[in-house]
Amino acid sequence: MTEQTRKTSRWTIWLPLALFAAFVVLVLIGLFRPAGRDVASTLIGKPLPAFDLPPALPERPGLASTAFGKGQPRLLNIFASWCIPCRVEAPQLDRLKRMGVPIDAISVRDRPEDLRGFLAQNGDPFQSIGADDDGKVQLALGSSGVPETYVIDGKGTIRYQHIGEIRPEHLPLILEKLKEAGR
């Protein structure tokens, strides 16, 4: 029962740490691999695909791609009344509207009565709302979820795609992109 330090196996003591370090490196690569999650960022710099959507609410105009590219940058917001994050971003859209940013919207798989309720509840910053009932236009725009917001410049080119809700801290970013698009 003599007390003795293990000299023979000192290197094995560091083996677990080495394995763990390898794990961390591997995971870091996985976590920050550039081929990330923004599926459709390739659309940036390309012209807005052509579409012509019927009005989502009968009393309001629908939305066609020809509404864009008339010299002024515009925002195109893809949303739905059944989408909670869309409620979260409503105040931000409202602020943008009050700053004079023209905003159009595409509502995806929605019903007029639900949509009316949503707009009454959360404010209505939109100039026109197109109804994309089968998600085809959303698909063409390369949007993989709601809400998403596009910055379209005066020539009808997509300049920026914002995936997810616009949070208050994103406002400067959106305004910056709008400014770039206006140049």
Partner: protein
């Protein structure tokens, strides 16, 4: 109001954890000794505050306060109360809050009851616990505040994932979390012991009940999770080697190894550095598992939303905690003195083998789980499934079962095979009988064959330690061991039987038609729409007769939820003593026929019965150990009391 109260409690708890860490660390230095008295009460209060925060979250969910963002995102006013409450932890933020709550409570409990270890080791342990907690508090408060408000409040919530609207699943994550986080105590003990270099039987005895308790919860959690996947996913399988399942299996494997090496350290003062190492590894596996699931880095049928930002936060926590602990281990393990010696053929030797095999399986599972990441870093896209995991884990599981049968019969320190040979006659006989029976049935694949035969031998061998014992005087932990080992045999039998003898049938039938699967005749009576609180479904009414006996009705459903819109299939199960009939309703074929998928799975419930037996064995052992600990404490107090009286 409640949400703000919860947030305040959370901040306070975090502050106390910081205090606990600083006071604990300072108290270890000669100058800070005065702080030693603070640490334990602080740990207790910190745990209570975390519990208060969690209680606040449950209240907010129970009353569906939609102005709280988390509630709006994950709950719905129409949901039954029990699922509203379960919704509190059925999401990322809530489950992290549950994590710190359990961790704080465990730390507080240790501070309250653990009196056996030298005080410096306790201080280091509690400081370690606070250090780990602090990281998770920071994560909650900075990156995932569960009490965040939403203004204006939405009129209705986003609902809860209907797959999660199930009683079994509602209470499954908390059970697993008790297991994961219970292992944090073992981790902290290991840190404490490394800091003060006090690795010995007392350390093992102090750590063992915690490991045992965590292990029980993990066992129950895994068993329940497997059953949930079995009946809820409607795929007829009970284990998919899914990353989430692996994430719960890996800590269990490590905890099982730790439990056994703790036994060696407590009884024989051997395997010192190894036990400390396992203490670190077990909780590391909990954290790594949670990280893999939470970061969304591995996609899985169970996974929560993908969020690289949170992923990096947890990864940083992992790197600090595990990396720090392993560095400490590297620095100190060389000076942890060697323990008592023993011969390779001995109880210790068998337990070492068990530990090595468990570690090998752990390595196999971890490696297989991470391999898709590794392959992706090298440019290939792969997924790893049963063709890898099943045979690879069996390679090490089978020898481990043999050791498991023999080991408990061996004596401590040294023994010979000659002595136990006679006792092994009975299990060998069972194995031979098993081989004969399975061969008579014929045509069974290799792995199930091995499983069936080994299960027979193990079932007999597991009760042998009770022979030559006075059953009434046999200590509870021995009963626990026997029961747990027997449970393994039972579960193994169920698994092997399921894969060897299952019969599957996939048919399209008209109503009124009868189809057969195994010994069952099943008649499709009707398919009708039914409605629930937040779903509608097509329900099939089937009449199942076992060997043309009396009919029993089965009603599988294909459900559509509308908040959020989603479809699930509710399988229908019919359990007999000798197996389970499993029915799933598919879609309607074009010509008015209905698709049915039917399985007859002989003895499949044994899998989960075995799992419960294993857990029950753990409960017996824990009860026995706790009772004897209390007895010892009382006796010591009495002696101390007498001494002081005599002193006067």
């Amino acid at each position: 109001m409640i949400a703000e109260f919860g947030l305040a409690a959370l901040w306070l708890a975090a502050a106390l954890a910081a205090l606990q860490l600083i006071a604990g660390a300072l108290a270890l230095t000669p100058r800070g000794a005065a702080l030693a008295g603070v640490v334990r009460p602080v740990a207790v209060v910190q745990g209570l505050l975390a519990l208060a925060a969690f209680g606040a979250l449950i209240l907010v969910f129970a009353e569906t306060d939609l102005s709280v963002k988390l509630v709006a995102m994950n709950s719905h006013s129409m949901k039954p109360l029990i699922f509203k409450i379960a919704g509190a932890w059925g999401n990322h933020e809530g489950s992290m809050l549950l994590w710190v709550t359990v961790m704080g409570m465990a730390g507080g409990f240790v501070a309250l009851v653990e009196k056996r270890l030298p005080e410096p080791t306790m201080l280091a342990t509690l400081a370690g616990q606070a250090f780990v907690s602090l990281g998770f508090y920071a994560f909650l408060l900075i990156a995932s505040n569960p009490f965040e408000r939403l203004s204006p409040a939405p009129p209705e919530g986003n609902g809860l994932n209907p797959l999660l609207q199930d009683l079994g699943l509602a209470f499954h994550p908390p059970t697993l979390y008790l297991g994961y986080v219970g292992l944090s105590v073992a981790f902290s003990f290991a840190i404490g012991a490394l800091v003060t270099r006090q690795v010995g039987p007392a350390f093992a005895r102090a750590m063992r009940p915690w490991v045992l308790a965590a292990w029980i919860f993990l066992t129950v959690g895994i068993t329940a999770g497997s059953y949930w996947a079995y009946y809820e996913l409607g795929w007829g399988g009970w284990w998919f080697w899914d990353p989430v399942e692996n994430a719960s299996l890996m800590p269990w494997l490590a905890a099982t190894a730790l439990l056994h090496s703790c036994g060696v350290l407590a009884a024989r003062n051997a395997l010192r550095a190894w036990t400390v190492m396992l203490g670190v590894v077990a909780f590391s596996m909990s954290m790594i598992g949670t990280f893999l699931v939470r970061s969304g880095i591995l996609t899985s049928v169970h996974a929560f939303a993908v969020d690289p930002e949170r992923g990096s936060f947890i990864l940083a926590l992992l790197a600090i905690n595990i990396g720090g602990a392993l560095t400490l281990f590297g620095l100190r393990a060389a000076t942890v003195t060697e323990g008592e010696r023993f011969r390779p053929v001995s109880r210790e030797g068998a337990l070492v083998l068990n530990n090595v095999m468990l570690s090998a399986i752990l390595g196999i599972v971890l490696f297989g789980t991470l391999y898709p990441l590794l392959a992706e870093a090298m440019g290939a896209k792969v997924s790893v499934g049963p063709p890898y995991f099943n045979p690879m884990s069996a390679i090490f599981f089978v020898p481990m079962l043999v050791v498991l049968a023999v080991g408990p019969l061996l004596r401590w320190r040294r023994d010979t095979f000659a002595r136990v040979r006679k006792r092994l006659a009975l299990p060998l006989l069972a194995v031979l009988a098993g081989i004969a029976i399975v061969l008579a049935i014929g045509d069974v694949a290799v792995l199930p064959f091995l499983g069936l035969v080994l299960a027979a031998g193990l079932a007999v061998a597991s009760v042998l330690p009770l022979r030559d014992r006075n059953l009434r005087r046999t200590p509870l932990p021995v009963w626990g061991m026997v029961l747990a080992h027997f449970g393994i045999a039972v579960a193994l039998f169920g698994m092997a039987s399921e894969s060897a003898f299952s019969v599957e049938k996939l048919v399209a039938v008209r109503t009124g038609e009868t189809t057969r699967v195994g010994p069952w005749a099943i008649r499709l009576m009707a398919v009708e729409p039914v409605a629930g609180p937040n779903w509608t479904a097509l329900e099939a009414q089937m009449l199942a007769r076992y060997q043309d006996g009396r009919g029993t009705e089965l009603r599988p459903q294909s459900r559509s939820f509308w908040t959020p819109p989603q479809q699930t299939s509710e399988s229908a199960l019919l359990t007999r003593w000798n197996g389970q009939l499993y029915a799933v309703l598919g879609g309607e074929a074009t010509d008015g026929r209905w698709q049915l998928r039917l399985w007859w799975k002989p003895f499949v419930p044994m899998i989960w019965l075995g799992g419960l037996l294993i857990a029950l064995g753990g409960v017996l052992a824990l009860a026995g150990r706790t009772a004897s600990d209390i007895r010892r404490l009382v006796a010591r107090d009495k002696i101390a009391y007498r001494r002081t009286r005599q002193g006067r």
